[in-house]
């Protein structure tokens, strides 16, 4: 386990970083497995979409692409701050790492509020999980993604707990949790393009 405190040594800072797997390899197995599971969901969705393209297109028109774009920008920006958090933790600057972790959490919260708002707007206009096949996929995919986001908040909590004290600050745990957060982001990238953009 590499401590954040150890990284404060100037010699360690100036050396060119060697190639290493960011975080624990187990997390990468989980990431690739998650990507595989979601790909299966997406493949079934696209196959059914081809069968009922008229219904899917009519239902898709009720989604707000601007809100979807805002969600995407929020998560992409949160990913950038998460990267800055990891870089600061590696350099041993716990305060900057904590600031970036807080910014990441704030943007994640923005995404959560935006997504719940969109759900409320849709259900108010009579489009729920059981309305039709498109909305069944919409609520299932965005719902399961939101569940991943909530788990992402737990990983953010773990990062903040690690950063609060240099004694327990583990660079590897910070990197592992960050990898999970980025996975939430990249899954949304695919969901956004499949639900909002494809025709």
């Amino acid at each position: 386990m590499t401590d954040i405190a150890q990284a404060e040594q100037p010699e360690a800072e100036t050396k060119k970083p060697a190639r290493h797997i960011p975080g624990q390899p187990d997390m990468w197995v989980l990431v690739l497995f998650e990507a595989l599971v979601f790909t299966a969901y997406f493949a079934v969705y696209l196959f059914h979409r081809s069968a009922h393209s008229g219904l899917f297109l009519r239902s898709q028109a009720y989604l707000n692409p601007w809100l979807g774009t805002l969600d995407t920008v929020l998560l992409l920006t949160s990913s950038m701050f998460m990267l800055h958090c990891v870089q600061a933790a590696r350099a041993g600057v716990a305060r900057a790492a904590m600031t970036n972790a807080c910014l990441t959490a704030l943007l994640g919260l923005g995404f959560l509020i935006s997504k719940v708002t969109e759900w409320i707007l849709l259900t108010r206009t009579g489009h729920g999980f059981t309305s039709n096949e498109f909305f069944m996929y919409y609520f299932f995919l965005t719902g399961i993604h939101l569940l991943h986001l909530l788990i992402g908040f737990i990983t953010l909590g773990v990062i903040m707990y690690q950063l609060r004290s240099p004694k327990r600050g583990s660079r590897e745990i910070v990197e592992t949790c960050a990898t999970y957060w980025h996975t939430v982001d990249l899954l949304w990238i695919l969901i956004f393009s499949l639900l909002y953009v494809v025709r």
């Binding site: 960011p22 493949a43 982001d185 953009v197 025709r199």
Partner: protein
């Protein structure tokens, strides 16, 4: 002030600049979706367009690869993980496009 922390600071600033450029590229692609979205449709109605679907999936894969390489720092990971991720992205793309086009052919 010694030269070593100065170098570390300069490298840190360079890394931040790089991540900001990557973010701008990702946001630009996302905004490009909106243009794609508008060009695909007749006024008041959405139309089925295979070319839009294909471009949307390919652009999403470009974004996913960028996130893997830059934000998840796969570009600094061992070659094996780099190639595995590339293979994974290609597999996801193949699966998505195949499902869509097989669905079109079957129905």
């Amino acid at each position: 002030m010694s030269a070593q922390p100065e170098k570390a600071r300069a490298r840190n600033a360079q890394a931040k600049r790089r991540s900001l450029i990557v973010l701008l590229i990702l946001v630009a692609i996302t905004l490009g979706y909106l243009a794609l979205d508008r060009s695909a449709d007749a006024p008041g109605a959405y139309r089925a367009r295979s070319v839009v679907t294909t471009i949307a999936i390919l652009l999403a894969l470009v974004k996913v690869r960028l996130i893997f390489r830059e934000f998840m720092q796969v570009r600094n990971a061992p070659m094996l993980l780099c190639r595995l991720i590339d293979l994974w992205v290609a597999m996801i793309g193949a699966a998505l496009l195949a499902s869509y086009y097989i669905g079109l052919a079957v129905h």
